[in-house]
């Protein structure tokens, strides 16, 4: 049986079970999306996926209950991304700015209450990044799959904890950046990845330089900011969460939070997971991290993310990765960009490479949820990419070259720098 109403409600019969679900067909505005999604979510009967569960695979027609945690900025876009290829009904929205209006039925200020709901299967997280790891972990502990906005985390230890949780509970995690999916469809990039992963390259002198687009000025914090009264609708304690408690200032919330170490890490943290996600896939860096990181930056402020010039990151295999802000100081000129090609292999090795299989296709979030296999931007891959960003920011914050052990995941011989990789959290939050 098929029934269409208002273009978005369908009722199917599947295996003798009547399933009602919503599919948003029309292109929608953010406001109408939230309004319609909630209204329909309440009206529709969502059959939880465990009813049909089978051996972990869910039927393509099944409706999933969804929640959005962090509803400003990228929130609606992140939720829409989670709906691609899935029938997700929004059942709950959560935002710390709704202290005076949340009804704890469809709108919440405390994500923990959202995660308690049994009818929610998938969670989109678009809070400021200092919350990403903790909410992702809590969601996966509660059996939910997660699509989390970038950047994945605020410091290195968080990423490892998210990756462990995803593995432990067999939950799907996809980071909200998708550059690698295009790379995986580009034959030239596939060839580069094959060469890099083949083990046939005798000497790697690849230099990848990413210049500009890191919004350093745009996402710089304010110095000299005087505390202001907390708006009555804002749950400031919940906003600050695991970060150190500071007096409220409007520049610390609502997008400009990016300019503070306590919540994100400037334009570098905000943009570089986008920039680097394709690079880490193409050059086969998803299971490792840089071993040496050198910054060119003035001494950093303790709270406010400020200007920096460039950061050079070297991998154990010889690959050099450079992030040049193009917004401060002299441009990076130590090395020139250099990729890798078949010319770098001997004729015999080229033949060997031909016989090697192409990389496995990357699964979208929807495919991963249905097949219960890791998504293309899974937690481990996202963790390795964001580790580059955090190492670069640690080098900027300490103003010196640092050395990193990609296996032990610690900064070597520099206790002060390592403390930035493993930051304590404000109680009751912890990894």
């Amino acid at each position: 049986m098929l029934f269409l109403r208002n273009n978005y409600l369908k009722i199917f019969t599947y295996n003798s079970i009547e399933i009602k679900f919503m599919k948003i067909i029309n292109k929608i505005s953010r406001r109408s999306f939230l309004k319609d999604a909630l209204a329909t979510g309440i009206a529709a009967t969502v059959v939880p996926r465990y009813v049909l569960g089978g051996e972990g695979n869910i039927p393509p027609s099944e409706t999933l209950g969804g929640a959005l945690i962090g509803c400003g900025g990228r929130g609606p876009g992140t939720f829409s991304e989670m709906q691609k290829g899935l029938n997700v009904v929004m059942l709950a929205r959560c935002d710390v700015r709704w202290k005076t209006t949340a009804d704890n039925k469809t709108t919440y200020t405390d994500f923990r209450r959202v995660l308690e709901r049994k009818d929610i299967d998938v969670v989109a997280i678009a809070t400021p990044p200092h919350w990403h790891a903790l909410i992702s972990i809590a969601a996966m502990e509660a059996g939910k799959d997660v699509l989390c906005e970038k950047p994945m985390t605020r410091f290195i230890a968080e990423g490892r904890a998210v990756a462990e949780a995803s593995k432990r509970y067999g939950r799907i995690f996809q980071i909200g950046t998708f550059g690698r999916f295009n790379e995986a469809k580009d034959p030239k990039k596939v060839l580069i990845r094959k060469i890099m992963k083949s083990g046939l390259l005798k000497k790697c002198d690849v230099v990848v330089i990413r210049r500009g687009g890191l919004k350093v000025k745009e996402w710089s914090g304010l110095v000299n900011a005087k505390p202001q009264p907390i708006p009555p609708n804002l749950d400031w304690d919940m906003y600050v969460g695991p970060s150190p408690m500071k007096p409220y200032h409007p520049h610390r919330v609502g997008g400009t939070h990016r300019g503070y170490w306590d919540y994100e890490g400037g334009g570098l943290a905000d943009m570089a997971q986008h920039t680097l996600d394709p690079v880490t896939w193409t050059y086969g860096l998803d299971d490792t991290a840089p071993v040496e990181v050198e910054p060119n930056a003035p001494p950093a402020h303790h709270e406010v993310c400020g200007m920096w010039g460039w950061v050079e990151l070297k991998y154990a295999n010889g690959l050099t990765l450079v992030l040049d802000s193009a917004e401060w100081g002299d441009p990076y000129e130590k090395k020139k960009s250099r990729s890798v090609s078949l010319e770098d292999l001997s004729p015999e090795d080229r033949e060997k490479l031909k016989s090697m299989p192409d990389p496995e296709p990357l699964l979208t979030f929807a495919e991963a949820v249905k097949q219960r296999k890791p998504a293309g931007g899974n937690a481990e891959a996202a963790f390795r990419t964001i580790t580059i960003v955090h190492l670069a920011n640690i080098a900027i914050r300490t103003g010196r070259k640092i050395k990193y052990d990609p296996v032990k995941e610690v900064i070597i011989g520099d206790e002060e720098a390592n403390r930035l990789a493993y930051q304590p959290m404000r109680a009751p939050w912890h990894l």
Binding site: G143, Y169, A417, P424
Partner: protein
Amino acid sequence: MKRRTALLINQCVHRGTYKIQLLKFMATAKINVSELVEKMPPTDKELEAMQKKTEQPADEKSKPQKPLEGSKFTGPDPELADSICESLLSDAPQSIEQLVGLIRDPASPEFKNYKAEYLAHVLAVYTGRPGKQNQRKIVAKTFASFLGNDKTPEYVQGFLARQLERIGDKDVASALGKLLLNEKLCDYAASALISIREGSAEQFQPVVLKANGRCKLVAIQSLAALEDVNSIKVFQKALSDDDRDIRLAGAFGIVKTADASSISILLKAADVESSYERSKMTSLCIQLAEKLNAKGKKQEAANIFKHLRDTRTDPKEKYIRDLADKWLASTVL
């Protein structure tokens, strides 16, 4: 490119002039901390105003101004910052005490600008470098001398505790411990002590007995983070506390210390009705089982997994049963 070149020229002109002035000052003057602080770079807004003044041709002065760009904090030239730090250290600890004395709470009417606080941070980071242990100890000890002191504003104490989170060692643990019964400062102090580790647990142990509310929670969770085996009884007691966060902190402590003797009370605490606490506690039980297994205590780990397999019967907890089944099937006891 043209815009970038112009930007670089501007930076060079302003920063170069400023650097020469400051180096002259440092070569000739005896250390005067107040003056040194004021030689810190201008704020972003001041810098923008200066740039506009020099860039603008005379005939364009009447044209309307473009809106100011967002904040862009820029510290001093790195070499210059190093020489400023060396100057301060040459007269330590008096110079550092003077510097701390210049820091003001931004909420205070006396607050002028960020510069003293920033310079104190730059100094901390400078001495955080490998090989600068002696200088680091001087700075950390001097910072610590301001803690727990009624004369030092709480804002300043909080700032100093955050610097000690970066550069502190066991020698400053007792000074940080003085803040653990202060609701406003205990979080900062706890973070610093957790980062320091050595000598930190002793600071929290007495606090657990005296503190209530937030300070008690912070103390128990910090002892957990420090994996303090001497606090196992504290963790066990916390499991039956009225406060959910304290119960979870107690469970965290049992996991971090991998205490096999607490298995049964942890499992009991984890069998709460369906809630955030249940999934968190369940996760902590699994983590304890993993830790015990890694230590060779397979039977204890198996007991935990069997319990979870038998009690997580809700259809929504199938992933927990699956996880437990998988472990039990793959492990030879």
